[in-house]
């Protein structure tokens, strides 16, 4: 009986050997590993955009003559798969730089993996504040941390909407974080407790009970923190329940994702939220970007997932250009350190994000949450061809909300 097991192990080893042989490192090639949630349509499209942008860099001659070799894996927003992907990319593909993940609950454990393996990690869009608070010297965050969004939102809400706010928070990492930060900001800035607060399931479909309660609570605004599709359902049902449009709907940062207006339709009108990028941005770089995304991926108005992924690639390109890379078989550790230091030296990068992105060397949230500018955006028209407008643009101090 034991023999059978041995044979199977041998077979397994042989199978892995074949796989191991296939990935022999080539010189003059910067290896980049990407792990992302590739299950939603948006996720697939900006995953594609990242790969396309890398292809374009390579076609234009690469970086200092070196080409980028990118491997993209799907983590389905599951932490164990994310860790497996990161381990595979770091040890098997021997990447110089890890990009990922898009989900906070996946980025959180990966930060420990990259810190231990000493691989620079740059995050395209996980907003959970704890990611950079772990004190890893190897992690950089391109998106705006949740703590900044809440500050901007709370300020605007308290001054323009009112102080009686109801909260509906879905149980996913980003939304919960947004919701809690918002509540504590409302308390510290305006000294108010939530008028109604309820946590709902991550993929809740029926909000009528809450809407009925909120209706009787007579509030000034409803904060709905949830992933795009859940939020869209909640928005639609809030109107079905008869809550008037005069009660403003406040979204969490995922309200910027296109399923919200396209599923919620008219119910999306008037929803405002803090995000990192607005398609209504008038700067030439933003217009060019919108045009490019529209043409290549058939997306009417790119949300901040796209802009952040694009900014990330530009920052990576910039940093890789600055780093002094040897790229031979023995220089992996040195190259990884060089790339880390190069990313940390990026200062006042002006891209699609509404404000400058700066990193610095210290392993603190102040240094590693590079983007500190949140934009307040409102939908003025829902549906497939939705329209947004920018309400305000605020750059927060680096240690805000810590």
């Amino acid at each position: 009986m034991t023999a059978t097991k041995n044979r199977l192990i041998a077979a397994g080893l042989a199978a892995s050997l074949v796989a191991g042989m296939a990935t022999v490192a080539a010189a003059g090639e910067i290896r980049v590993g990407i792990t992302m949630r590739m299950i939603s349509e948006n996720g697939q499209k900006y995953g594609q955009m990242v790969m396309d942008e890398i292809d374009m860099i390579n076609k234009a001659g690469g970086i200092n003559g070196n080409t980028i070799n990118a491997t993209l894996l799907n983590d389905e927003c599951k932490s164990d798969k994310g860790v497996a992907n990161a381990t595979k990319l770091i040890f098997q593909e021997k990447v110089h730089l890890l990009i990922g993940s898009t989900c906070s609950s996946v980025s959180l454990p990966i930060v420990d993996v990259t810190a231990k393996a000493e691989v620079p990690q740059i995050i395209p869009h996980s907003t959970n504040a704890k990611i950079t608070q772990k004190g890893s010297a190897w992690v950089f965050r391109v998106p705006v941390s949740g703590r900044y969004y809440a500050g901007v939102n709370a300020k605007y809400v308290g001054e323009n909407i009112g102080k009686k706010i109801a909260y509906l928070c879905a149980a996913d990492a980003a939304s919960q974080n947004d919701c809690e930060a918002m509540q504590s900001q409302m308390k510290s800035q305006h000294g108010v407790e939530p008028a109604y607060a309820a946590q709902v399931q991550e993929k809740e479909v029926d909000f009528r009970t809450h809407m009925q309660k909120i209706k009787t609570a007579n509030v000034d605004g409803i904060m709905i923190a949830a992933l795009a599709e859940t939020m869209a359902r909640a928005l639609t049902q809030s109107y079905e329940a008869g809550i008037p449009a005069s009660v403003r709907r406040i979204g969490s940062s995922s309200a910027s994702n296109s399923p919200v207006p396209s599923i919620a339709g008219d119910a999306a009108k008037g929803v405002f939220f803090a995000a990192a990028y607005a398609a209504a941005d008038r700067r030439p770089i933003a217009r060019l970007f919108n045009e490019m995304v529209r043409k290549r991926y058939n997306i009417n108005a790119p949300d901040h997932d796209f802009s952040q992924a694009y900014d990330l690639i530009r920052i990576v390109e910039l940093a890789l250009g600055r780093a002094d890379l040897k790229l031979d078989s023995g220089s992996l550790a040195a190259d990884r350190t060089a790339i880390r230091d190069a990313i940390a030296s990026v200062e006042n990068y002006q891209g699609l994000a509404s404000g400058p992105i700066s990193f610095c060397a210290a392993p603190t949230p102040q240094c590693r949450d590079g983007n500190r500018t949140a934009v307040l955006i409102a939908y003025t028209k829902g549906g497939e061809n939705y329209v947004t407008e920018v309400l305000a643009r605020v750059t927060m101090p680096a240690d805000f909300g810590l």
Partner: protein, 300 residues
């Protein structure tokens, strides 16, 4: 603070309107169990496919909503028959329930559910699709507003149940189905085409799931992942009502709907999905035969 009876009424109403949808799916599950003696774990995915069929007929083909509902039911029924004929027949022939084949059927159902979900994902993608059906302004009962689609769902549920009851009790074909459900060997000796009846049972159950999917689509939008939770709730409904009992399925559905809405309203909204399981486990531990007292079958 006074107890707010108008809110309580609203919560019960919400529970009832979502409960009938659970009931329709549970009806299909119960039908399969009473007829074939198996639990169909891929039924949630049939429900999801049904919703997508309805969406395709309504938005892309452009037929009116009632016709889309009917077409979705037919398509899902055919899909169910094909799946049963190609995959399940081999296993069900060996017997269901508490047999090694019964365990095989459970595993096979899980595998089929993964396959169906992946196929739907490859066709329609993972994003939720909006299902626009304009039925007009919601009804208003004082402070409570009830969207018309919920009312339509309730009416449809009653209609489907009545139609199923009529079919089973008043028609000759229905009699044959009941005979097959009762005992396949004797039914065969009586000259009933047993394989055909099994296909019919399966097709009917799948059509019911599709009806539920198309009815709920406009309210909750249609998504690849929608099947699993519905399956759990429908299981709970079927067990609470008495597994295998058809009126029990609808009553169980209503009970699960009310129970989870009251739980969400008065205990804790974040545990909403647990209440259905709680009810299921309680019923199983106290009275496994369910409210409608179907003999819990044990085959040793």
């Amino acid at each position: 603070m006074d107890f707010d009876f108008s809110s309580l009424f609203a919560f019960i109403l919400f529970g009832l309107t979502i409960g009938v949808v659970y009931g329709i799916v549970a009806l299909g599950i119960s039908l399969i169990y009473s007829g074939l003696d198996i639990v169909h774990f891929a039924h949630g995915e049939i429900y999801m496919f049904g919703a997508f069929f309805g969406l395709v007929f309504s938005e892309q083909v452009g037929v009116p909503y009632p016709l889309a509902l009917l077409s979705a039911m037919i398509c899902a029924g055919v899909l169910g028959i094909v799946i049963e004929r190609v995959f399940y027949r081999r296993l069900t022939r060996a017997g269901g329930g508490y047999t090694v084949a019964g365990m095989g059927m459970i595993i096979c159902g899980f595998g089929m559910s993964v396959v169906l979900q992946n196929i739907a994902f490859l066709i329609w993608g993972a994003d939720a699709e909006p299902f626009h059906v304009d039925l007009g302004e919601p009804y208003q009962f004082g402070d409570i507003s009830l969207p018309k689609s919920y009312a339509l769902t309730a009416v449809m549920a009653l209609f489907l149940m009545a139609a199923l009851h009529f079919f089973l009790v008043r028609t000759k074909l229905g009699l044959a189905v009941r005979a097959v459900a009762h005992n396949k060997d004797i039914a065969f000796l009586m000259g009933i085409n047993v394989p055909l009846m099994i296909s019919l049972i399966f097709g009917l159950a799948c059509a019911l799931a599709a009806a539920a999917g198309t009815l709920i689509g406009p309210m909750q939008s249609v998504q690849v992942e929608m099947g699993y939770l519905m399956l759990m709730k429908a299981f709970a409904a079927a067990v609470v009502g008495g597994f295998g009992s058809l009126p029990g399925a609808i009553v169980g559905g209503l009970l699960v709907g009310i129970f989870e809405n009251l739980g969400a309203a008065y205990i804790s909204p974040s545990h909403k999905d647990i209440y259905a399981f709680l009810l299921l486990i309680l019923v199983l531990m106290i009275k496994p035969s369910g409210l409608f007292g179907v003999e819990a079958r044990v085959k040793a």
